[in-house]
Amino acid sequence: MAGRQIYNPDGFKNMEADGKITGYQFDFKAQYYRGITLSIVRDIKVNVDGEEVNREDIRLVVNGEAFTLEEMRTVIDSDYRWEFGDYATVTVCKEGGLAAGSHHIKAVQIIDPSYMPFQIEAVCEADFEMK
């Protein structure tokens, strides 16, 4: 299979603060064909190894600024668009992060361009390795 790449293969990492693992992160591209304000990203769902992540544990980082999904509802600034073809980083708060070894991610991007009668629900699945 030679389909398009959605996830950055080097983007899966645990996050550390004060010597503790506080969570993990990954990078992916929006599955739509133009840059969008974060306000029309109506939801991001993350499931790793069958475990659904709580909505409030998710942040989307664009251009160095981290937003909760609630905050994203009002983000329309040009500096924080999710540009077409660019990775945005998703961080997930999870004590201890992810164990080394193989994992499977299933994330869903829900994007709502105004002209479409239905929202886009892009299911993004991949296997990845944590070092």
Partner: protein
């Protein structure tokens, strides 16, 4: 016969290469020029980072017009997206929407575009409220006529009434050549097969399409509720009977997906273009798959260009490649080659006087 039809490329076509960072904006312009096209259609929100701020700067505009000169290209059409649902808790007010439309008209004008594409979801009042400004900026607003919509329909009549009532010369139609599909695109059928659709169900869907063509598609009505209009249109064109037949044949998800998607293509008589030529100033030359022999198996390119010639059309036909969406999940996409072939096919039909 008129042979003043011009060729353009919509940069929408190169989205897969842009996504993979194989082409940037200038790269897309360079590829456009290589095909022999002289026009370029831009989705500013797709390829101009930090939209719309750079367009406001002289620096960016100097670069843009520098590229136009370097690649011998002319801006053909600016594709606007009226993001009237930019917040999830409300739709923008009419005045806010008019301001957004005016912003886009202004941006289009600053980049040298004479035409602006607006989407079918644009409320009539927003268009009417922007007409004076469009005239002032000399940018024509074109409503995309995309399947399941069509010219010479109840839906189009709603807009014709507005054109006649206001006497405007700054609003018209941008037909999308996806309304001239003789068949369901082969890339869609191949995708259905990869996903496990049965030959029996594919046959049912293909025959139902052929039957719609033979009988003539029942056209869509004008309704502010686009979802409702679309559902009525589907039912009037035999969707239920076809879905029942697919179900009776044991159709699974891949069969149902193919059956449902078949309703996003349609056939209109190319005579519709001749009838409406006074209101057409730009065209999306939609295509799905160009073969090595320069044949598009779904879109009736020669017949449509023949109609444009008869009508004396002097606008652009702007290549809009949309086959990638049926490939990219599991196959590579080569938009550059697809657009090259499509431009060559159009060139042959245009120059065949």
């Amino acid at each position: 016969m008129s042979c003043e039809i011009k060729r353009s490329v919509s940069l929408y076509s190169y989205q897969d290469e842009y996504y993979d960072k194989k082409l940037d904006l200038e790269g897309c312009l360079r590829e456009t020029a290589k095909t022999g096209a002289t026009g370029v259609e831009l989705l500013a929100e797709q390829m101009i980072r930090r939209f719309p701020l750079p367009i406001e700067t002289e620096e960016f505009r100097a670069q843009w017009f520098g590229w136009m000169e370097k690649y011998h290209l002319e801006p053909s059409c600016y594709d606007a997206f009226l993001e009237n649902h930019i917040y999830d808790n409300r739709t923008l007010t009419l005045s806010e929407q008019v301001n957004m439309m005016k912003r886009d008209i202004r941006l289009a004008s600053m980049l040298g575009f004479k035409n602006l594409r607006t989407l079918v979801s644009t409320p009539m009042d927003v268009i009417e409220g922007s007409l004076d400004y469009a005239e002032e900026k000399e940018v024509k607003i074109g409503l995309e006529v995309h399947a399941p919509f069509s010219l010479n329909s109840g839906w189009a009549d709603g807009y014709m009434e507005m054109i006649h009532r206001t006497g405007t010369k700054y609003f018209g139609f941008i037909p999308d050549m996806g309304i001239f599909c003789k068949n369901i695109p082969d890339v869609l059928r191949d995708k259905a097969r990869r996903h496990g659709a049965s030959e029996e169900c594919i046959k049912i869907v293909d025959e139902a399409y052929a039957e719609r063509m033979a009988k003539g598609f029942v056209k869509i009505k004008y309704d502010l509720n686009l979802g409702k209009a679309n559902m009525e249109y589907r039912m009037a064109n035999g969707m239920k009977e076809m879905m029942d037949a697919v179900e009776a044949a044991g159709g699974g998800p891949a069969d149902q997906e193919y059956a449902g998607a078949s309703f996003t293509y349609s056939w209109s008589d190319p005579q519709d273009l001749i009838d409406n030529i006074d209101y057409i100033f730009h065209t999306h030359a939609k295509f799905y798959n160009m073969h090595e022999d320069y044949k598009e198996t779904a879109v009736a390119i020669p017949e449509v260009i023949e109609a444009f010639k008869k009508a004396g059309y002097k606008g652009f036909l702007s290549s809009e490649y949309e086959g990638g969406e049926h490939l990219r999940a599991d196959l590579p996409v080569d938009s550059i080659e697809q657009v090259r072939r499509h431009q060559e096919a159009m060139r042959r039909s245009i120059e065949d006087c």
